[in-house]
């Protein structure tokens, strides 16, 4: 915007022209449609959510006493009921994120490299990997809940195992991560594939002329070429994993004894089932703070490497 950069030198010549061409509010007029949406759908809800989190806010009780940071203090007190439940849920979210994100990066990248090749039936192959993503979480959850059932499920039946996939940890984590990978692998793969196709073929050819083998080309050409895509995928995957709800709601119902009840699950339960919107909002803000830090770390990590 020229408005902000106007130094002294421009003062004499410019005013009349600038004023005619662009009044002070011109940029805001252009921004207005977005700003309106941003205000209605972002600023107001966030502000309202924060306001809610400062109250003992029960949807149906007429009295909504102001409690200041009481809800937050409660959550940071491990001796309180909501505090211990909340940190257990945060732990569950943490475990799931740490376990699922690496797999959801590495596997789709490998699949994308294969998809990128030229071979017969390539489109079918791509479609097959993407297919599960088309299903809704309800379909995926119900399907796998019965497939994975430890006593009457097909998975144990065919593998000849006696593993309680839905009611025991760590098997429940393996099941939840496995289902999520099966379900969402296609999306990351397709994004990686798009990124791979943007890497100029000449770079690979030049590297080949220089005598680089496939591994060396992958490390020196493919990975650096994918960096912008990678930042996006890593960030989006972390956020998606940290927001995991449907899978544990439908497959394990939080079993065993709330150990797989994730933060979002608990927030939904607290706010929408127990009507305790104040506590639920406070939980949301703490979770959001964690996610913002995680995102910042990811961006930081990728930016540092770009420096010479």
């Amino acid at each position: 915007m020229s408005v902000t950069t106007a130094p002294g030198a421009v003062r004499h010549a410019a005013p009349a022209r600038t004023a005619r061409r662009m009044r002070w509010w011109t940029p805001y007029a252009f921004l207005a449609p977005y700003l309106a949406l941003f205000t209605v759908f972002m600023v107001v809800p966030i502000g309202f959510g924060f306001w809610t989190s400062l109250h003992e806010w029960d949807i149906n009780l007429p009295a909504k006493p102001f409690v200041g940071l009481g809800n937050y203090a409660d959550l940071f007190d491990p001796g309180s009921v909501d505090g211990s439940r909340f940190w257990m849920a945060m732990r569950a979210t943490g475990i799931f994120t740490v376990a699922s994100v690496p797999i959801l990066i590495v596997l789709p990248l490998a699949v994308a490299l294969l998809m990128n090749g030229r071979f017969k039936g390539r489109n079918v192959y791509r479609a097959v990997y993407f297919a599960p993503y088309v299903l809704g979480v309800a379909v995926v959850g119900l399907l796998w809940r019965y497939l994975l059932d430890g006593n009457i499920g097909l998975v144990n039946h065919y593998l000849g195992l006696e593993v309680q996939w839905t009611t025991d940890v760590p098997p429940a984590w393996i099941a939840l991560v496995g289902v999520t990978v099966w379900w969402t692998l296609g999306l990351n793969s397709v994004i990686f594939l798009a990124g791979l196709q943007d890497i100029p073929r000449e770079l690979h050819e030049a590297a080949m002329v220089d005598g680089a083998g496939p591994w060396r080309r992958f490390r020196a050409v493919t990975l650096p070429g994918l960096r912008p895509v990678m930042v996006f995928v890593v960030n989006a995957t972390i956020l998606a994993s940290a927001n995991m709800f449907g899978q544990s709601y439908l497959i394990t119902a939080g079993a065993p004894a709330d150990q797989t009840k994730t933060a979002i699950y608990l927030i939904a339960e607290t706010g929408l089932r127990q009507f305790d919107m104040g506590t639920a909002s406070a939980m949301s803000f703490i979770l959001a703070a964690f996610l913002m830090v995680a995102s910042a770390l990811v961006f930081g990590a990728f930016r540092d490497r770009r420096k010479p």
Partner: protein, 446 residues
């Protein structure tokens, strides 16, 4: 240089606008709650007569998603036909666990039910949340009297001296047995005493039913635990609702018996939600405790299975079983329109008189007198109500549902999953429950 200033001014302005909007939104939120205190005064008392006002449509919510649903729909259709042009009842059926969280919010927004069926243990919570309006006059007009009901069912509907419910039915946990399995060990029916029950399990195991009695960790595990607790002579909560008493030695005995079934090999460990019932339907389980409303589901969906229904065995010494009742309630949404109030009361009265018909959906009529009607007395579930004194109910304390979910159900699950011993799990659960009870006391201001 007016530009930067204007920009700042603009930002201030938009910030202020946002804040105003936020505050306005908050104001709205507060009003929602307070708005619901106004109603009822306008409506005249109900005396049991016909509805004479203009045509109204009533939204009617219930959770009859099981074998009981089709039956309720038939009854509604009959009502709508009879009252065509005057009252139209629109039926909304959703699962109980979705219905309860949705109801207060929907009513605040004006999109909820005018009349609904809820369980006895929710009446207190919803009354204090001002979701319901009193129906003393309906009870009077129907000439329902305390003497004709189980006291627990009758009293659950009273909050702060006003009556908020018209009881429709009673239902309880029952012991479903696989008749073909029991035949193998020479039994016609599931045994009703502890020694007989345990012997039957041992025999069944020998008779090649590898695991005859699967122990759930989720629903209905807490119902089994509560039944056993009462059988041992324990209590759930103190009279004034400030202390959880289910961590007593009776509670430990009850929970230990449940865990024992796994240790003895009668149940697999860590049974997943609902799979004990699925396995029963698939002829893999000999005995399973479940609600009597599953009768119609078994009839329809497991036609080849030979099964029977018995009262749950007396393990603890005194016969006792978890029970609940369905109750008609009038909501504060209907309370805003006197015509709706009148129509809803006519509807409730009409349905209440049909409780014998409703019993065919797998329920036990709430009125003692209705249970003696010959067409009801023959129903399989009614024999479970031979002695109503065995029926125990969850107290209608406001907010008791939260305490159950966060403390009792979790403790039972932990013990059955062997994450903790029964005594430790209960001790931890009771500590949580006591905190929540204190919180509820303060919150609901009793």
């Amino acid at each position: 240089m007016t530009h930067p200033l204007s920009r700042r001014a603009f930002l201030n302005l938009s910030g202020a606008a946002g804040l105003t909007a936020a505050l306005a939104a908050c104001g709205g939120g507060t009003r929602l709650g307070t708005g619901s205190t106004t109603p009822t005064a306008a409506a005249p008392a109900f005396t049991g007569g016909e509805y004479t006002g203009p045509k109204v449509t009533l939204s009617y919510w219930n959770g009859f998603t099981g074998g009981d649903g089709p039956h309720m729909r038939t009854m509604i259709d009959a009502f709508n036909k009879e009252y065509a042009g005057r009252i139209e009842v629109r039926n909304v059926t959703r699962r109980w666990e979705d219905l309860y969280p949705a109801m207060p919010t929907a009513i605040s927004a004006g999109n909820g039910p005018d009349v609904a069926v809820i369980h006895n243990d929710w009446i207190g919570t919803f009354a204090v949340r001002q979701v319901l309006v009193p129906v003393d006059d309906v009870v009077g007009a129907l000439q329902l009297t305390e003497g004709d009901f189980i006291p627990a069912v009758w009293n659950a509907g009273v909050y702060n001296g006003k009556r908020y419910s018209v009881p429709l039915d009673v239902h309880c946990l029952g012991d479903y047995y696989n008749a073909a399995h029991l035949e193998k060990i020479g039994l016609k029916e599931a045994p009703g005493d502890k020694a007989g029950y345990e012997e039957a399990l041992a025999e069944l195991k020998k008779a090649s039913v590898a695991q005859p009695f699967w122990m759930p960790n989720k629903w209905p595990a807490h119902l089994m635990f509560m039944s056993l607790l009462w059988q041992h002579g324990g209590e759930l909560y103190s009279e004034d609702g400030t202390k959880a008493l289910w961590g007593s030695e009776q509670g430990v005995a009850a929970l230990s018996w449940m865990v024992e079934q796994i240790d003895k090999g009668y149940s697999p460990a860590k049974v997943a939600i609902d799979s004990q019932y699925a396995a029963f339907k698939n002829d893999k389980v000999s005995l399973t405790w479940d609600g009597i409303w599953q009768i119609n589901d078994l009839k329809t969906n497991a036609p080849s299975l030979k099964w029977g229904l018995a009262p749950i065995p007396n393990i603890g010494g005194t016969p006792a079983v978890w029970s609940a009742s369905h109750n008609f309630v009038l909501t504060s949404q209907a309370g805003k329109d006197p015509n709706k109030v009148q129509a809803a009361k006519v509807f409730i009265g009409h349905m209440s008189r049909q409780s014998t018909e409703w019993a065919k959906a797998g329920m036990i009529p709430a009125r003692n007198s209705a249970r003696q009607a010959p067409e009801v007395a023959e129903l399989p579930q009614v024999k479970l109500a031979a002695d109503m004194s065995v029926f125990h109910f969850l107290p209608a304390l406001p907010g008791v549902g939260d305490v159950q979910v966060k403390a009792l159900e979790l403790a039972v699950a932990k013990a059955v999953l062997k994450e903790a011993g029964p005594a430790d799990a209960l001790k931890e659960g009771v500590a949580t429950a006591d905190k929540l009870l204190a919180e509820n006391k303060r919150k609901y201001g009793q």
